[in-house]
């Protein structure tokens, strides 16, 4: 739940999603769900010449499991908050 909550705070921000098949998409984070599936708006493909079939993509739903990395806008990430909720999350998770 930690990352789901975290990504909800980034809705509306610009992110770059790198997929496991090496495709890279940038766009505005529209929404995210508990599986970390994401929806992007105003999508741009990073290597247009390599993926001409994706040129027309403007909005996209990405299944969480095909994501490798997501580059985040560092200025919009509250590192302190993230760290605190991570510590809390792990504490409560201990007795699982």
């Amino acid at each position: 739940m930690l990352f789901y909550s975290f990504f909800k705070t980034l809705v509306g921000k610009e992110v770059a999603v790198e997929l496991k098949n090496d495709v890279e998409l940038t766009g505005k984070l529209h929404s995210v769900d508990q599986y970390l599936n994401v929806k992007l708006e105003d999508v741009q493909v990073v290597k247009k010449e390599r993926y001409p079939q994706l040129l027309a993509v403007k909005n996209v739903f990405i299944r969480g499991s095909v994501i490798r990395f997501i580059q985040l806008p560092a200025s919009d990430v509250d590192v302190q908050l993230l760290q605190d909720s991570c510590r809390k999350d792990n504490q409560s998770g201990k007795g699982r």
Binding site: L2, F3, F6, F7, K20, L36, G64, S65, I67, R68, F69, I70, Q71, L72, P73, A74, V77, V79, L82, Q83, S85, C86, R87, D89, N90, G93
Partner: protein, 93 residues
């Protein structure tokens, strides 16, 4: 090793806010500061240096050349299922 490690994830827990090394699928290596993780090994790393190693065959000599490319990312979310190995910095506790 300190006594607070009784399950493997404790090793990661002790590395919060430290620079760690992460070996990922697809010959990718990351070095960065660990800001958050969960039990799937999803992670958020800061000031990340990514190294990608790709073997290439030299057409003329038929030799295998190992090409490495590097890039840096300020803030990166890593999906846990691509993680193979995590190594914390050497602890002197």
């Amino acid at each position: 090793m300190s006594s607070s490690v009784d399950e493997p994830l404790d090793l990661i827990r002790l590395s919060l806010e430290e620079r760690i090394y992460v070996k990922c699928r697809g010959e990718r290596e990351l070095r960065g500061k660990l800001h958050a993780f969960d039990r799937h090994l999803n992670m958020i790393l800061g000031e990340v240096e990514e190294t990608v190693t790709t073997p290439e065959i030299d057409e003329e000599t038929d030799e295998e050349i190992i090409r490495t490319s590097r890039r840096t990312v300020e803030m990166l979310f890593v999906r846990g299922d691509v993680v193979i190995l995590v190594s914390p910095p050497l602890r002197t506790a």
